[in-house]
Amino acid sequence: MASLGYIREAPELEESPPALSSGALAWARANLFSSIGSTVVTIGCVALVAYLLPQVVAWATTRAIWSASNGAACRQHQDGACWAFVIAKWDYLRFGSYPIAERWRVDVVEAIGAALIIWLLWIHAPRRVLGALLFFVAYPILALILLHGSPWLGLPIVDTQLWGGIFVSLLTAVVGIVFSLPLGVLLALGRRSRLPAVRAASVVFVEFVRGVPFITILFMANNLLPLFVPETWTPDRLLRPLAGIIIFSAAYMAEEVRGGLQSLGKGQYEAAMALGLNYSRMTALVILPQALTLVIPGIVNNFIGLFMDTTLISLVGATDFLEAMNNAIKDPVWAGPTIMVTGYVFAGIFYFTFCFGMARYSAHVERILAKGRK
């Protein structure tokens, strides 16, 4: 006679999982060789990599030309990369036409910038507020004086027309990132403002900029900006594309940030208001920290896009890294098919390194911020 009731008499003991449900072997069996089809795909992919990878490595290393004073050697050995070309043009690729005697100034600016950026990106670094102050206030002034020059300090003026190469690409990217994020945040807040004029202005700006291609913005910045300001301080030729890139990026940034703002419940606003926080403190201390954390992937995606877009400033006469590479490749001394390929492969590696670095860093920050919050 089975009873409907039940009373436990001894506890169930905890056991370890059955064999082959964990471990590398179990993983491989479940993911790589689970069926005939997946086994074929796995073997095919491994074979492809095994066939291609040695050739790519050999092209880039053993068969490559590492030193030469002109393109002759590279033209003879067309089955390898021509790194000698990149090495010979390295200074031009870095500095463009910046006067050789003054290039130490760029080195100094880059070194200080790199140190400050590492200081800021290192989450647990000491005194990051001081680092931020130096980076956002002192550093731009110092960089401007050093790069552009100041006769008072005995630094000859170097016109921005002469600036070029990697240093201009980095400068454009850093200036774009540093200005477009705050501007984007303001536009996002403006779009949710209760003041109709502020809201309308933000909507018009964002929708207009998002509605036209970046190149249009660049040409407008280049040709229209001088018309809007007094002739005495016509914007510099490099400043115009910088303004264009900031405006363009800020509009996209604004939409990312707005997405973050919208995903916060109204309970957060109410709790902050009930505690007596006014609008600016509520926004700065409660709303933005949460909204920006939520949209880090989108923001970094925009940063990466912005870094790629810096290659377009060459269309309005600035010499970024890619343009410097184009110029270098046109040098008749270094003419040859492998030279062009090598140049663009190198440019690709350069852009990939920075963008991949940004993506990895943002993933790292997300992990740190996610810790402790559910």
């Binding site: 309970g267 109410e270 709790a271 009930a274 505690l275 006014n278 201390l285 954390t293 402790g372």
Partner: protein, 258 residues
């Protein structure tokens, strides 16, 4: 709106006075001619069916909602569109929400010290001391350095009470503070609130916890359809409700809860 009431001597004024308050959401008349005076140190429990306007009423006290007619005077300050007055009132009125609304990006301690530091301009060390004292009082001192997402609902709600108390408010508003808690955590929150009541805090509590109302309230306010239907001392309210709608409501909820 007259501002004659605004500058009454604060010590003599009642904690809160609603006079002929009306509110509409669009064309929906959500509060109808509310008249209620809450004395200093008084504990008021507001109950009523959902949609009766009880939450809306207490959210008018710190201007999370604005009323369209009548006057609300809190601690001698009449609520108008004037942002300064709203800020003044919000500094003195703490609020606890149904869904806690802790700030998830700050630790529980930081949740508590945020407003004292930025609104009261308290030095961080003082704010920390105050917060630790209040977290000890709501018995979650050991959770101070955790994030809200790492502790239970009951602990979150007690942290939210501590956060409000850190502003040393004169009045505390509770908007269904136990409604989103698991049943086994309701008691710890109610005990905290009872302790607060015993210390003489002026409290308005919107709740369905009739046991709490019976034990703690000085007066029970029953609302239905946006109007106050009955106000009575708890004993009379529960044993001898006067209005038919009160009787119906009590028979419905007490039937479910007992």
């Amino acid at each position: 709106m007259s501002s004659a009431l605004a500058d009454v001597d604060q010590a003599d004024a009642p904690a809160i006075r609603f006079t002929g308050v009306h509110k509409w959401y669009g064309s929906f008349h959500v509060l109808r001619n509310i008249n209620l005076t809450v004395g200093r140190g008084e504990r008021i429990v507001i109950c009523g069916p959902s949609g009766s306007g009880k939450s809306t009423l207490i959210r008018c006290v710190n201007r999370l909602e604005e009323h369209q007619r009548g006057s609300i005077v809190v601690d001698g300050v009449e609520l108008t569109d004037d942002v300064k007055r709203i800020d003044e009132v919000r500094r003195e009125v703490g609020m606890v929400f149904q869904s806690f609304n802790l700030f998830p990006h700050l630790t529980i301690l930081e949740n508590c010290t945020l407003a004292p530091i930025w609104v009261r301009k308290m030095p961080r060390r003082h704010a920390d001391e105050l917060a630790m004292k209040l977290l000890a009082r709501v018995r979650i001192l050991d959770q101070a350095h955790k994030y809200p997402g790492q502790v239970s609902g009951g602990q979150q709600q007690r942290a939210a009470i501590a956060r409000a108390l850190c502003m040393t408010p004169k009045i505390m508003l509770f908007d269904e503070p136990t409604s989103s808690l698991d049943p086994e955590m309701v008691k710890e929150v109610l005990d905290t609130m009872t302790g607060l009541a015993q210390e003489g805090m002026t409290m308005i509590v919107v709740t369905h916890e009739m046991g709490f109302a019976r034990q703690v309230a000085d007066r029970v306010v029953f609302m239905d359809g946006g109007e106050i239907v009955e106000i009575n001392a708890p004993l009379r309210f529960f044993e001898h409700p006067q209005h038919e709608r009160t009787k119906l409501f009590l028979s419905q909820i007490l039937h479910i809860r007992h």
